[in-house]
C-alpha cells in the first residue's frame, strides 16, 4: 500500500500568529486517486493546500511526496518535483497574453548563456499553447489577447490549461469552478475527468456537492483547522458530508478533534 502513496502529511500544522489555521492534519493520497477537500469557509482547506505547494512554510509537521520527505522553500520547488496547482486567486498576469501566462516562470528559451537576458522562444511557446488548449478542450478565440480582456471563465480555463498542460505527479485545484457559468464548469470538469482517465492524482477543493460526488473517489472534510472526516464516496452521501462540515458529526477516528 505504501508504495502506492503519492502524498502523505503527518501532523501538518500552520499558525498565523495566534490563529491556528491548520492543526495536525494527517492526509494520504494514493496513485491515480481523486480526493475532494470540503469544509466551511475558514476551515483550513486553502491553508492546507498552501503548505503542500510551498506557497507558505508550515509551522510543524511532515510532508512526504512521491516517497520522499519534502520541504519546499517555494512554489517553484514544488512544481519542479511535480505538484501543479490552480489557486483560488488566479495566478495570472493580467497584462500578459495566454502563452506568456502558460509559461510564466518556466519560459521556453534560446541562447541560455545570456542568463537573465536569454531570449524567449515565442514560436515554440505559441505552438505548445495551442497543443495544450487543444488537449484540454479549452477554447479561446485569440491567444494573443491579454488576460484582462477575457471573461472569468476564459481566465479560469487558461489557469487550468496551464496546470494540465505540464505533466505532473499531482494536480491541486482550489475551487476551480467557483466563479464559472454552467458551460465553463462543464469544461473544467471534463479536464478533471481526463486527468482521471490518464491516472493522474488530484486534490480538488470544492464547495459543490454535486461536483464532488460526480468526480472524486474520496472526500476529506476540514473543520476549524482540523480534518474531521475521511469518507469513501461510495460509503457516504451529501447529508452525511454536510453533517461533518457543520460539525453535527465527527468521524470516530477524529473524536475530540473539533
Amino acid at each position: 500500500m505504501s508504495e502506492e502513496l503519492v502524498l502523505k502529511t503527518v501532523d501538518l500544522t500552520k499558525h498565523y500568529g495566534g490563529v491556528h489555521a491548520l492543526q495536525g492534519a494527517n492526509f494520504e493520497l494514493n496513485k491515480g486517486e481523486h480526493v475532494a477537500i470540503m469544509g466551511d469557509n475558514g476551515a483550513g482547506k486553502s491553508t492546507f493546500v498552501r503548505q503542500i505547494t510551498g506557497v507558505e512554510q508550515r509551522t510543524r509537521g511532515t510532508v512526504i511526496f512521491d516517497g520522499q520527505e519534502v520541504d519546499f522553500k517555494g512554489p517553484i520547488e514544488a512544481r519542479e518535483s511535480g505538484i501543479e496547482a490552480v489557486f483560488q486567486t488566479l495566478a495570472l498576469a493580467d497584462h500578459l497574453d495566454v502563452p506568456d501566462n502558460l509559461f510564466l516562470g518556466r519560459e521556453k528559451t534560446k541562447w541560455d548563456w545570456l542568463g537573465p537576458f536569454r531570449l524567449l522562444d515565442y514560436k515554440a511557446m505559441r505552438k505548445d499553447t495551442m497543443a495544450a488548449l487543444e488537449k484540454t478542450g479549452v477554447k479561446i478565440p485569440n491567444i494573443h489577447n491579454t488576460i484582462e480582456k477575457m471573461s472569468g471563465g476564459q481566465r479560469q480555463c487558461v489557469a487550468i490549461a496551464r496546470t494540465a498542460s505540464f505533466h505532473s505527479k499531482l494536480t491541486i485545484m482550489d475551487e476551480p469552478t467557483a466563479a464559472l457559468g454552467v458551460q465553463e464548469t462543464e469544461q473544467v470538469e471534463n479536464i478533471i475527468r481526463q486527468l482521471k482517465e490518464q491516472g493522474e492524482p488530484l486534490i480538488l477543493v470544492s464547495h459543490n456537492m454535486r461536483q464532488v460526488f460526480d468526480l472524486v473517489d474520496r472526500i476529506v472534510v476540514f473543520r476549524r483547522g482540523r480534518i474531521v472526516a475521511n469518507l469513501l464516496k461510495i460509503e457516504t452521501d451529501g447529508q452525511d458530508v454536510v453533517a461533518y462540515i457543520t460539525g453535527a458529526k465527527t468521524g470516530a477516528e477524529y473524536e475530540g478533534a473539533a
Binding site: 488566479l90 497584462h95 537576458f117 531570449l119 477554447k139 478565440p141 485569440n142 491567444i143 458551460q183 465553463e184
Partner: protein, 357 residues
C-alpha cells in the same frame, strides 16, 4: 463567453484583432503638438513665417530644420537615458526618485578619476586627487561610475524587495543620500578639466547616440528576453509572479540596479558634455525622467507600457521645450504646459484602463 462554445478548435489568431498599441497615441500626441507649434509659427505676428521643424530656407538637401531637430533630441537625451531605467522600475509598479541626485553623485565620483593632470601646461586647478588619479584610461572612471550606480541600485532594491519599504520612501531616502554624497565628495567644489577621452563621451551628438542605442538595446531586452517578461509579470500581478516561481526579490533588485546604472551612466555623459561635475547637477532629472515614461504610456500601476513609448514621451517633452523657445515664450510657461501634459497623460491612461476592465 459565447466564444468558448463555438468552432472546432476555437483557436483563431486574428491579427486584425490586435489592439491599437498605446504607443500610437503618444506618436499622435507628438504630431499634434508639432502641428500646433507650426500653426502658431504661421499666425503669431512676430514670427516672420518661420517654420518650427521644416527647412524653409532655399536649401534642397534637407526637409527638416536639422539644427532644431538635433537640439530637441540632444536636450532630452541625457534625461532620456535615465527614463529608460525608470521605465523598467515603473513597469514593476515601483518608482525611483533617486536618479537625479545619483546623476550628480556619479558625475562627481567618475570625473574625479577622469581629470587631466596639466591644463595649458599648468597643474589642474580643480584636481581632487593627487597625480595618481590623473590621466587614467577613460574606462576607469566609467567602471567606477557604473559600479557606484550598481551599488546604489542594489541598496534601493534590497530595501524595497527584502525589507518591504515602499519604493517611494526608499528612493526618497536615497535621493537625499546621493545629493549628500555629491556635496561631500569634493566638499562642494566643482570638479573640472577631464581628459580628452572623457570629454569625448559627451561631446557633440554623443549623448543622442548613447540614448538611442541604449533605447534599442532595452527595447529588445524588454520585448524578447526572460528579464523583460518577468519585469512585466511582476508589475502585472506580483503574487502570480511569485506563485509561478519567479524570484521576485532578486528580479526587483536587478531592475533597480539596472535603473541606477543607467542614471549613473547619464551622470558620466552629463559631466563629459559639460566638462565639469558639480554637486547641484541633475536637479529635477528624476521627475522629468518619470514624466517621459508616464507621457510615453507607462502606467504607474505597473505592467503596462514600453521603451518605445518612453522614447516618444521624451520626444514630446523635447518638442514642447523647444517649441516654447521657438514661439519665444519663457521657461515659466514651459513648466506649466509640461505639468498639464503630464496630468493629461495620466488621466488618459486611467481612462484607457477603465475601458479595458
Amino acid at each position: 463567453m459565447s466564444d468558448t462554445s463555438q468552432g472546432t478548435g476555437g483557436l483563431t489568431f486574428d491579427k486584425s484583432k490586435r489592439s491599437w498599441p498605446s504607443e500610437m497615441n503618444v506618436l499622435l500626441a507628438l504630431v499634434i503638438i508639432i502641428v500646433i507649434f507650426e500653426f502658431l509659427g504661421q499666425v503669431l505676428p512676430y514670427m516672420n513665417d518661420q517654420s518650427f521643424l521644416f527647412d524653409t530656407r532655399d536649401r534642397f538637401d534637407s526637409i527638416f530644420n536639422e539644427a532644431r531637430v538635433r537640439i530637441i533630441i540632444l536636450q532630452v537625451a541625457i534625461i532620456g537615458i535615465i527614463a529608460l531605467g525608470v521605465s523598467q522600475v515603473i513597469i514593476t509598479a515601483g518608482i525611483d526618485l533617486s536618479s537625479g541626485p545619483l546623476v550628480a553623485a556619479t558625475a562627481m565620483i567618475a570625473m574625479s578619476f577622469g581629470q587631466t593632470e596639466l591644463v595649458n601646461g599648468y597643474a589642474n586647478p580643480k584636481a581632487l586627487f593627487g597625480t595618481w588619479a590623473m590621466d587614467l584610461p577613460v574606462v576607469i572612471p566609467i567602471v567606477i561610475g557604473l559600479s557606484f550606480g550598481a551599488l546604489i541600485g542594489a541598496i534601493n532594491g534590497t530595501f524595497i524587495a527584502h525589507f518591504k519599504i515602499p519604493p517611494f520612501i526608499a528612493t526618497l531616502g536615497m535621493f537625499l543620500i546621493c545629493r549628500g554624497i555629491a556635496l561631500w565628495w569634493s566638499a562642494g567644489n566643482p570638479i573640472s578639466f577631464p581628459t580628452p577621452q572623457y570629454k569625448a563621451i559627451g561631446s557633440g551628438m554623443m549623448p543622442v547616440v548613447w540614448f538611442l542605442s541604449l533605447a534599442v538595446i532595452f527595447h529588445l531586452i524588454m520585448r524578447y528576453t526572460v528579464y523583460g517578461k518577468h519585469t512585466y509579470a511582476i508589475g502585472s500581478n506580483e503574487e502570480a509572479a511569485r506563485m509561478s516561481g519567479i524570484n521576485v526579490k532578486r528580479h526587483k533588485i536587478m531592475v533597480y540596479m539596472i535603473a541606477a546604472m543607467l542614471a549613473a551612466f547619464a551622470g558620466v555623459v552629463l559631466s563629459a558634455k559639460a566638462s565639469t561635475a558639480q554637486a547641484g547637477m541633475g536637479e529635477f532629472y528624476e521627475l522629468f525622467a518619470i514624466a517621459m515614461a508616464v507621457i510615453g504610456g507607462i502606467s504607474l500601476t505597473g505592467g503596462r507600457g514600453s521603451i518605445i513609448g518612453t522614447v516618444l514621451g521624451a520626444m514630446v517633452l523635447g518638442v514642447i521645450r523647444s517649441g516654447f523657445t521657438y514661439i519665444k515664450l519663457d521657461g515659466s510657461y514651459q513648466l506649466i504646459a509640461m505639468g498639464g501634459i503630464i496630468i493629461a497623460a495620466v488621466i488618459l491612461d486611467q481612462y484607457r484602463q477603465r475601458n479595458k476592465a
